[in-house]
Symmetry: C2
DNA sequence: AAGCGGCAGTGAAACGTTTCATCAAACGTC
DNA sequence: GACGTTTGATGAAACGTTTCACTGCCGCTT
C-alpha cells in the first residue's frame, strides 16, 4: 500500500543507502542527489516505517504514561506536565488508562513492553505489578513511579508527601474545633489513600497527647469518583445528628465534590452541618457549590519532574535511582471555614 | 538485552518456526514441545517484539485518538467510550493531545502515520489537516472524525448537532425573557464554536420574525478553558449595567465555569444579574457554585460509536463512509432559572 | 607522475518476526 | 507389507530500515 525506501531509491535513480542518508544525515549527500531523492519522496508520498526503524534500532521514540483514572483532572494535569517535557526531547507521549483495574494495567504493561517503549511513567494500581515493572526495568525500559514512593530502591519515583497532606487536613479540622472527623476514601489498598489516612490518624494521635481524644470514622469507598462520593455522603447523612462527624476529609477532590453535592441535596449545610476538605485542589474545587478546601499538589511539576528523571535514565544507563518528594499545601476555602471558632 | 525467538528455540531444542507456532497456533504443536517452549520462554523472560511483528504483518494493533484538550472532561468521557470498544476488539487505544495547536497536531499525525496505527479517531483543530487525513485514509489508515461532521464524504464521522444545540440554548434564554444575550466562545475557526454560534443567531432570527428583535453580543475567546471564561466574564462585567447582556451562552462548560466564578467574584448574582448556559454537561456542571444549565452531549456514546465505525472500516476495506449525527439535549439548572418569568 | 587522503555512493548484512514450501515420520487401509 | 495420507517440525524468505565495509573518483601533495 505504502511506498518503501527501495521504491524511492529506484525512482530517484540512487541506491538504497543514499536515500537513508538523505533521511538521516542529509549533509553527507550531494545537493543534487538530495534534491532528486526528496522529489521522489514527495511524488510517492513515502512515509517512514517506524516498525522497521525500531526493529533495527532496538528502541522506540515513545514514552508511555499509565494513569489510574483518565478522567481525573489530577492525572490530566500531571500528564500535561510530562507531555511538555517528553515532547521537548523529541519523543512522543502516549497516555494509557488503567482505570484502577489491575487486570487492565497488566494488559497495558504487556503491550507496552512488547512495543519496547522508551520508558514508562506509571501510577501503579497496587503492588501486584511490582514484579513486572522490575522486569521492565531490567529489560532496559526505565520506569518512573508517579505519585507513589518507590518501595525499595528499584525505581526512580516522584511523589508528594501524602502522610503530611493527611496531617495538614486533619490538623486544620482539629484546630477549627472539630472533634469527630470522618475520613472518606478507598480502596485502602491504594497507597495514596492509606497514606492520607495514616496522616489523619497521626494528627489525631498528636492531638490526643494534650487534649481529650477526638474521634475518627472511616468511610471506605470503592474508588475515588464523584459517584463514590455521593454514596459516602449518603452514609454520613444517615447517621443520627448527635453521632455524626462534623467534618469529612476526602481522599481526593472528585470524592469531595460528590460528597458536597449529595449533602446539599439532602439539605445539610456545608460547612455548618459538615465541613469538607478535599485533596488535589483540582481546578474545579474552587468553582464548587461551596468552594472546596483542599490539599494542593504540584501536579504539572510532578509530571515534568517524572519525565525528566525518566529521560535522564534513558540517556544514562549507569544511573542512580532517585526519589523526589514534594510537600503539599493546604488551601482553605469556604467548605471548611470555622462555624464555631476554636 | 532481551531474548529473541531464536534463543528460545535453541534453549527449547526446537526450530524457530515451532516457537512461532506455539505463540500463534498452539494447537498445531505437540503438547510436549509446547511445554518445553513455554518453559524456555518463562526462563528467558522472553517478550514478543512488536516492531518485528508489525513489520512482518504490515499493520499494528493500536488505535489512536487525538483530542483537542486532554484536560477537558468532555474529551475524557469520549475517550472512555472509545477505549471500551477498542479494547473489546483486542486492540489498544493510545490517547494523544493536540492542545488545539495545529503544529502539534501535525507532529502527532506524522508520528502516528509512521507508526502505521490501525486507525485514527480525531477531532481536528481546524481544516488545515484535512489533506493529511485524506492521505492517511488513502494509505490504508481509516480515519473517523469525532465531534465534527465530515465536510465532504471523505471520512466517517460521528458528531452532535451543534447548530441545534446552540438553538436550544438560545431559545431557552429567549423564552425565559432575556432580550440581550451574549455568546462567549472561540476561536470561531473551531467548527464546534461557529456551529453553536450559528444556532444562536438562527434562534434569534426566528424569534425576531414574531417579536421585536433581541440583541446578541459576541465575546470572542482565545480558547475553551476556565481561564478564558474568567477573562470573558471580566469583559462582560465591565459593560455598564444597562447595556450589559442579561444572559450568556458559553460554547462549553469549562468556559461557563470560568465565567460563573469570575462573575461571583465580582459580586454579580447568577442568574439574577446574568444567567448562564454552558455546553457539554460535564460532570462538574451540576456541582458548580450555581448548578449550571448546559446542553448535554452523549459523550461516551460518541466515543463508542466512533470506535465501532473505525473498527468496521478496518475490517472491511470496501466500506461506505457514514456520518452519524446525534441530537443534544438541554438540561436546565439554577444558573438559568427565570429571574423574571416570561 | 605517482601516491595518498577524503568524499559520495553502493550493496549486503542484520534486526525479530511470520509464513510457506518442504520434509520426515507415523498412521490407517487394503 | 506397500502405499497414500495426515501430522508435526523445519529452515529459508520476506517485511523496511540502518549501518558499515568497500569501491571509485577527484584533487592535492610530494
Amino acid at each position: 500500500m505504502t511506498a518503501s525506501i527501495k521504491e524511492v531509491a529506484r525512482r530517484a535513480g540512487v541506491s538504497l543507502g543514499t536515500v537513508s542518508n538523505v533521511l538521516n544525515r542529509p549533509e553527507k549527500v550531494t545537493p543534487e542527489n538530495r534534491e532528486r531523492v526528496l522529489k521522489a519522496i514527495a511524488e510517492l508520498g513515502y512515509v517512514r516505517n517506524d516498525s522497521a526503524r525500531q526493529l533495527r534500532a532496538g528502541r522506540s521514540r515513545t514514552v508511555a504514561i499509565v494513569v489510574l483514572d483518565g478522567g481525573n483532572p489530577f492525572f490530566t494535569d500531571v500528564t500535561r506536565g510530562a507531555e511538555e517535557t517528553v515532547e521537548a526531547a523529541g519523543s512522543m507521549l502516549i497516555v494509557c488508562n488503567s482505570g484502577e483495574s489491575p487486570a487492565r494495567e497488566e494488559r497495558l504493561l504487556e503491550m507496552l513492553e512488547q512495543q519496547r517503549v522508551q520508558g514508562l511513567l506509571i501510577t501503579p494500581v497496587g503492588t501486584s505489578s511490582t514484579a513486572r515493572l522490575e522486569r521492565l526495568s531490567r529489560h532496559g525500559i526505565p520506569v518512573v513511579l508517579v505519585d507513589r514512593g518507590a518501595g525499595r530502591g528499584a525505581f526512580c519515583s516522584v511523589s508528594v508527601n501524602d502522610v503530611l497532606g493527611g496531617q495538614l487536613a486533619a490538623e486544620h479540622l482539629l484546630r477549627t474545633g472539630h472533634r469527630h472527623i470522618a475520613f472518606a476514601g478507598g480502596p485502602l489498598t491504594l497507597p495514596q489513600v492509606s497514606d492520607r489516612h495514616q496522616g489523619t490518624t497521626a494528627a489525631l494521635a498528636e492531638f490526643a497527647a494534650e487534649n481529650p481524644p477526638a474521634r475518627l470514622t472511616v468511610v471506605d469507598t470503592a474508588n475515588l469518583t464523584v459517584a463514590a462520593g455521593r454514596k459516602a455522603a449518603a452514609e454520613l447523612a444517615a447517621i443520627a445528628p448527635g453521632e455524626r462527624p462534623t467534618a469529612v476529609f476526602c481522599a481526593n477532590d472528585l470524592l469531595a465534590l460528590g460528597v458536597l453535592q449529595e449533602l446539599i441535596t439532602r439539605g445539610l449545610r456545608v460547612p455548618e452541618d459538615m465541613a469538607i476538605v478535599g485533596y488535589d485542589d483540582i481546578e474545579f474545587a474552587a468553582a464548587a457549590a461551596v468552594p472546596l478546601s483542599s490539599v494542593r499538589q504540584p501536579r504539572e511539576l510532578l509530571g515534568r519532574t517524572a519525565a525528566q528523571l525518566l529521560l535522564e535514565e534513558v540517556e544514562d544507563a549507569g544511573h542512580q535511582h532517585r526519589r523526589t518528594l514534594f510537600d503539599p499545601e493546604l488551601v482553605v476555602r469556604r467548605s471548611s471555614e470555622p462555624s464555631r471558632p476554636a
